[in-house]
Subunit: 298 residues, 4 copies
């Protein structure tokens, strides 16, 4: 079992790049010029470009839905914020195509390259000099009476929260069959290391470097003062059973979800399909953390 | 590189057990009866018993210093609290002898067996049915001007704190050569997963299961509100440089230490010599957490 | 302006007690015997008893809705938990009738007397020897386009939370006309000192003794790591304006509420009508805290 | 008893200003020009200027120790950081002379005026248009065997910490004679609202507006996870008894202190002598908080 998220070697990270997918955050007409410039730059290098529907709409370039696009390209470029990248990562699903996240605004945790740096970064990617990280994902299944209500891939987190606003919920949590604890809380976040700088951080969780593979269990407003965030090994089989009559909402990466009721179980394990994320050639992990959190340096 | 702290198989965990070391918390005359009973029980089974100086003192049994004892036995039994076990683990140093921690008072995180359970646990240990965990340790070196001031093995943590009571200190922290951040704080805890339920927890750190191998960086009273506990992969080479004129104290496992000054560096990496700890046959990791933290269950 | 929540003197705390209201937590048929015993005990002392509808249902005693009952009695006894007391306090509204909270289960923060202690406590109350505390309440108004959507009295808290589960909300917060900050968070709790041991505590707030009059602003899962709970003087005029397109829910004392939208304002000030709560004659404030939080003592 | 820290009316805040004290942070030769300019500006307006020893040293102006100076002037101007102001406030002791804090570097919490704003602020002060706040202080007494070891005035905080680096301490804490709890911790901070943005904040305390008068008890690295910061009314008589054999250090405003041992008591009550601090005419309390904590605004 691999111990840590690996940096892939260039030859295992990339197929020869012949076709490139370009994905755009929805409703960004002002990005049309940037997308057109990117398409032109890629085509000048003899690469075939497939736009997603959002990029196609602002540029007129032939487009395909993201889920189809992912199967036909050797590289995906995402223009948008972290939310857009989460959405593309879900569409890419289990295909091992590397993703380059380009932030249209300020720097993100997943979109580590700025628009200014785009072409310099792409030169390195095409030259096989970029670092590609295999980021652990969660395989999340919602179960009822032995049947499967839904199954999701999460790059950041799976979150169970009360749907009824006034009352807390009870979430019996097991790991590898043994009871961990029953959380009495507003909710519970199961996060990857990648997700540790997202919602889990707001709920008081630690920062876990994505080089590590692990699960982070962070309760939201726990009723019991002795509850603390828990970091579990990546081999854990986690099961969370809804133990209160109040309706519970499961939300995956803040974007899709399902309603749960008493007795339903959310089973989480490490997915066999990590996301292949191209790291910024221009700043280290810690530089990004320092920039995002205004940490001082010496 | 091993991904997670392993549960050792019986044949790799134990040599055939012929000699047993018995270590006792200092100044426990009331434990004399228990120690004598233990020695008798072991000798009746044909085992040779070596006492440490504390156990020798209350029983009159022939004794040796812990550091010598560790090289001559196939099993060490510690009677005391977590502090006693930390101290014995240090004396055992790099010898792969398994340790059974028996708590003389309430349950500990490291001394998971109670006095009542001692003989039942020992039967399982001698029958080769006990689970032995390889617990990651820190290899901690204090460096000045390229020279080594001291070198320590830590099972729980290495802690840098201000020695001058009034002022905070600056600790420039690097991982694998790159700057993480400079902590302006009362101090900084570098903890193992085992140490995550000790001092790091008081300083606001998460609980990291010891099945995971990782470093936990938990600042003590950080001046910057955006500092959060950090979990780093076990392959990290951590260096902490004292950047303030105030004197700094390095303390290892709360028991030994050294004074540092501006420019000194504490280098921490994963030790090649984990501690072999015999897990309680009677309660799971989570049962211990629930009992210690009064977590409710369903 | 009074500096602190006062303990009222007996002559200002009580009218001569001639009529007593008895309120019961809904759906507690097993409490019928206790309620009947209480009614009998009161009537034997020449007091007129009026039951609320819940108490009337299990005992057959003549009953009235709580809001009517409150105007006709000189003392209200609540049998239930903290939730029941919050609900009765709302029904009592601006009438200065003292309330004795009796917890049917474990001790509460508001229901400080156990069923076992009920008659001993009542003897002291009737003898004018009980301590009555004036507990600050919030006057909460929800405003839209200069009109008032609703107005509420809160003993614990007024809470604004996202109604849409996936997204955080923006809450521009002003005190006495000046901007405090704009919270980007799951929500914001405005609590009284009485409410500091309720939801605010789960969200990371401090414990504020109810002897103090103040507002506590505790953000729920704030996006910005530098946000901390804020304690404001009781003279503050607080205004919270919804600044995000997502729907926001206002919930008062966890029991009633209203849906808000962008531009709506929640205005909070100290109510002129504190709740008169009879303190336990048998345990101090700190004894209750120690018992509820399992704080050790010497 | 006054309910809240008051903003004083001009006629009660100031004597007619005839003499002004000028105090300087030690070892600031580069500030000589600024101090000379200030002295000249004041003398041109017919005011008598007395320098403290630090200001005298860099300017050659006649000087006096701060404690003598305070009795001879109608206004004190402090050039330095928050630490300098704390030190001057202590020297001013119980004299009701208003203090204007001018920060030589970035903005402080106590030194709210920048060097650029100095003369504009002084114009307003001399015209009687400045706002003067009476900031609550702590009267701190260290007691041994009924005798007094020392007595201190604190504007920020009184802090008890372990002097022995390895071990936590036990601090039995009482309010108005009743036991609050016994803290098992690295230490305990008793802070004023003014001090809530200083050390207490690093230890996890809330922000308490200085308009409020209250005590803040914030434990440092408490061993018990259920300990939370406590806010007590300003009328409280707080007593903290050292209950461990380890040596304990009492530190006041981070600047002076005394060593304590088992059985010693620190008694804290509200001082009758608040500090009169001139508020910045140019920014509100919340603007300062937003600037210091990088809180976003709308």
């Amino acid at each position: 079992m691999p111990s840590e998220n690996r940096t892939l070697k260039p030859d295992e990270a990339f197929h020869p790049i012949r076709a490139v997918g370009v994905c755009l955050k929805p409703a960004q007409p002002q990005a049309a010029g940037a997308v057109r410039g990117l398409v032109k730059w890629l085509e000048q290098r003899g690469l075939r470009v497939i736009a997603d529907e959002e990029a196609g709409e602002v540029t007129g370039h032939p487009s395909q839905p993201r889920s189809l696009l992912a199967g036909q390209v050797d590289l995906v470029i995402v223009l948008g914020g972290d939310g857009t990248l989460l959405s593309v990562a879900r569409a890419v699903s289990d295909r091992p195509v590397p993703i380059l996240g380009v932030n249209l605004g300020t720097l993100g945790f997943l979109t580590e390259v700025t628009l200014d740096e785009l072409f310099a970064a792409l030169e390195l990617v095409l030259a096989g000099k970029a670092r590609v990280e295999a980021r652990m994902r969660l395989d999340v299944r919602a179960l009822r009476d032995q049947g499967e209500l839904g199954r999701f891939l999460a790059l950041n987190d799976a979150v169970l929260t009360k749907a009824d606003l006034a009352r807390m919920i009870d979430l019996e949590t097991r790991a590898d069959g043994g009871e961990v604890t029953t959380y009495h809380a507003d909710g519970l976040i199961v996060a990857t290391p990648t997700g540790s700088t997202a919602y889990s951080l707001s709920a008081g969780g630690p920062i876990v470097l994505p080089e590590l593979e692990a699960f982070l269990l962070t309760p939201i407003c726990p009723h019991t003062l002795t509850q603390r965030p828990l970091v579990l090994p990546h081999s854990s089989q986690i099961e969370i059973c809804v133990r209160s009559r109040n309706e519970v909402q499961l939300t995956v990466d803040g974007q899709e979800g399902i309603a749960l009721r008493e007795g339903d179980v959310v089973a989480v394990r490490r997915s066999d399909h990590p996301v292949r994320l191209i790291a910024s050639p221009f700043r280290s992990r810690f530089e990004i953390l320092r920039e995002k959190f205004h940490w001082g340096t010496r």
